[in-house]
Symmetry: C2
Subunit: 251 residues, 2 copies
């Protein structure tokens, strides 16, 4: 049964794209068939994977290109539906729809998503009609959150917005909270982590440490497993893949 997971938080720069890309790539390496959908006008997922697709999510949703030609095989078992500035046009289409506008993404993806074991969606910061579409499409939400006061504030606000969607979409749940930019030398880091533990308990994932390799890998168009397979960043994202699969024997 295909698992649909949104990597989402309204707060900017907490590691959504880094997490979506390395989670998706890690699942593909573990043998699963994965579709990564970039719903962000920034279109950063394609850049991080070193690919330059001619068509992507926009062309799929407008119907101007057939699904097979919108997807790019970014890696073995990893297909990408790229984002980018053209998604602004898709948002206008959604906003103009008279009814069930929140289902436009679901209608575009459902015809073929069962081909995959996982559909991972990277999302933009903020909250708009495309965010809502993503949240109606998925059942599971994974929120990366950096261990800083203003990111926790963003998480609080995001949870409130999520709750309003959940009243209409009962199957939706915040399944994973992933602490990012963990820095053991920073006292605040530990304090915020323990606050998250008491609030989210089993939903809290092993933290991803601050590791400069994670910010360097995109410059080479490589995943962390390709760029620095022995780095703390690679180890931490493998842990996340194990957690999401429910299998700590992977690799």
């Amino acid at each position: 049964k295909t698992r649909r997971i949104a990597v989402s938080l309204s707060k900017g720069g907490v590691g959504k794209t880094t997490t979506a890309v390395n989670l998706a790539a890690g699942l593909a390496l573990a043998g699963y068939k994965v579709l990564l959908v970039d719903t962000d006008t920034q279109g950063q997922a394609a850049y991080m994977l070193g690919v330059k697709p001619k068509a992507g999510l926009t062309e799929l949703m407008t119907g101007e290109v057939i699904p097979q030609d919108c997807m790019v095989e970014a890696r073995e078992r990893l297909s990408l539906l790229a984002g980018g500035k053209s998604l602004a046009g898709v948002k206008r289409l959604i906003a103009r729809k008279d009814f069930r506008s929140e289902m436009m993404l679901t209608e575009a993806l459902s015809p073929f998503d069962s081909h995959f074991d996982f559909v991972i969606l990277d999302t933009s910061p903020g909250w708009d009609v495309l965010t809502i579409n993503v949240l109606f499409y998925v059942k599971e939400v994974l929120t990366p959150v950096s261990l800083e006061v203003m990111a926790i504030q963003g998480l609080l606000e995001f949870c409130r917005s999520l709750a309003s969607v959940q009243t209409y979409h009962k199957d939706l749940s915040l399944r994973y909270v992933v602490p990012t930019f963990m820095d053991k030398r920073v006292k605040q880091s530990e304090e915020i982590l323990s606050q998250l533990e008491s609030h989210f308990n089993s939903r809290l994932c092993p933290p991803v440490r601050y590791n400069v390799r994670l910010s360097e890998a995109p410059g080479h168009g490589q995943t962390i497993y390709e760029y620095a397979p022995g780095s703390p960043g690679a180890k931490d994202y493998r842990e996340l893949v194990r957690k999401v699969c429910g299998n700590d024997k992977l690799w």
Copy 2:
């Protein structure tokens, strides 16, 4: 003559709000009358200043509250027009307007902004109708950018989007580029900084170093000058205030 400066970049988490708040507060401490306008649905500027306004930018733009009652005196000589989730309604108003929708913010602020020496605007990540309104209101743009590949990618895309606005708004210029999260121990940091120097030369401001005090101050509702006046963060933002005022004798 009032200076209107947008603190803006589509990329998330590069220090827009931290910069807008500490630049505005620094200018007020230097003796100037400052209005800080938060145009972000995240509404983080008020939180960082430790204030909880009952009305803000939304109420100003819908006209439901008079301007004086929308502004909060956050500090001596520093007024705040707070943002927040209610701005989503303002965006819908803007999107529905038949003509000159890009001037709605200008029409709301112009009646009283000459009362101030500086109007500093904090903006949301991404790019939407409110971003466009901000860019039509100001003449000067200040972009904070963290010294990482994906933030530089965001800056490139932002400059392209800015250029399309500049064809219609000739007075608009990207006046300041502020490198943030500078970490001298990280080799990539230095390399990216020198790339920015060769591209932006005199527009490049002295960098703001990574300093955990900057991420702790919001937890106390204090500016960096109140929370840790001797810290690298306070020193770097004072330098930015001097640069923006064109006066390195300040303080």
